[in-house]
Every structure is written in C-alpha cells, then in structure tokens.
C-alpha cells in the first residue's frame, strides 16, 4: 500500500476519530439538553462517515475488492440520526426540561410541545 493512500486513510481516520471525540465531548460540555442534542447527531454521524469511507478504501486496497457494504451503515446512520435527535428533542420538550436562560424564543417550547401553530405576532 503506497504512501499516498496511507496518508489519505490516516487523515480520514483521524478526522473521523476526532469528530467522534468532539461529538462525545459536546455531549458533556454543552450547557443544556437541547444544545447537547446537536453534538452526536452531527459530529458523530460525520465521524462515522469518515471512518466508514476509510475502511472501505482500506478493504479496496488491501483485499483489492471494493467492499461497499459499509456504505449501508453510513446510509443507515444518516437516516436514523436526525430522527433520533427529533425524538429526543420531542421527549425533552415533553418533559419540560430546563433550557439555558439566554435561549431565544423559549416560549415556543410550550407551543411546540402541544404541536400547535405559533401566534403570528412574532413574524
């Protein structure tokens, strides 16, 4: 396996790794549940994507066969991640979890909670 490919692989891997790390870090660092939801649904997802591509390339150059299987996982994550976020946000609002004070339009939580339309005075 020549240098260039190793380089690409390593970069992809490191990117993925760091994104995963960041995602999990955000889960801890970010102030409230709503903001925390962002971290994994995005960072982790892409991180996984990077790693999956890396492993695809690896199998391609290592066994010489293009193993596209991993794409399936990526696809799956891209479908499921937003939904997970959505459901968790729903749950969070349902449980009236505390948002940080400086959150804009926090009043929308109550409206969204009952899935009503907002009163149009704001816009």
């Amino acid at each position: 396996m020549n240098f260039a490919i190793e380089l690409i692989l390593s970069l992809l891997l490191l990117l993925g790794g760091s994104l995963i790390l960041i995602g999990s870090l955000g889960l801890i660092r970010l102030p409230d549940v709503y903001t925390r939801l962002h971290a994994p649904t995005k960072a982790t997802t892409l991180g996984m994507g990077a790693i999956l591509i890396a492993s695809m390339l690896f199998t391609l150059f290592d066994q010489g066969s293009l193993s596209v299987q991993q794409l399936l996982i990526t696809l799956f994550l891209f479908i499921s991640a937003p939904l997970t976020g959505h459901l968790l946000a729903k749950t969070a609002m349902h449980q009236r979890l505390k948002q940080i004070d400086k959150t804009k339009n926090a009043e929308l939580i109550e409206v969204a909670r009952d899935r009503e339309a907002p009163n149009h005075s704001s816009d």
Partner: protein
C-alpha cells in the same frame, strides 16, 4: 503510519466511549442519558470498524450493521416510552 493513526483513533474512540459513559451516569435528565446511550452505540460501531481494519477482516460487519439498526430501534422505543408510557399502542 497507518498503524500509528489507527492506534490514535482507537485511543480517541476509547476516550469518547468513556465520556459517553460519564455523561450517561451524569444525566441529569433521561433524554440526555438516552442520547449518551445512542452515542455509545454509534461509537462502538466505529470501534468495530477500526478493529476490522486492524485485523484486516470484515467478519464483524454484520455486528456493526445490527448495532446501527437495533441501536436506533431501542432509542426510538425508549423515547416512545417516555412520551407515551406505552411503546406499542
């Protein structure tokens, strides 16, 4: 070089897993715990794939796939439970 980067990534993922466990324990709210669990699931997929590269085998591909699928299902079920109490209605 690949070996080194693989090692590094493994370390990163391990740290991530530990962090997820931490936030799972910390919570404080149930959705946050569930979120940590979900992240734990996804990160473990990464772990498996990295191992696949290390061992140069795709024997655990199905495991990864199933984790992706089933992790989602259980997260969805947990949320539904918190929302409705009754997940199948």
């Amino acid at each position: 070089m690949l070996e080194i980067s693989l090692k590094i990534v493994l370390v990163m993922i391990s740290i991530a897993l530990i962090m997820n466990t931490y936030s799972l324990v910390r919570g404080p709210s149930l959705p946050e715990r569930i979120l940590s669990l979900d992240t734990l699931y996804i990160n473990s997929i990464g772990l498996i794939l990295i191992y696949g590269i290390v061992q140069a085998s795709s024997i655990n591909f199905e495991a990864a796939l199933l984790i992706a699928m089933l992790g989602f299902v259980s997260t969805a079920a947990l949320c539904k439970y918190l929302l409705r109490g009754d997940i199948i209605e």
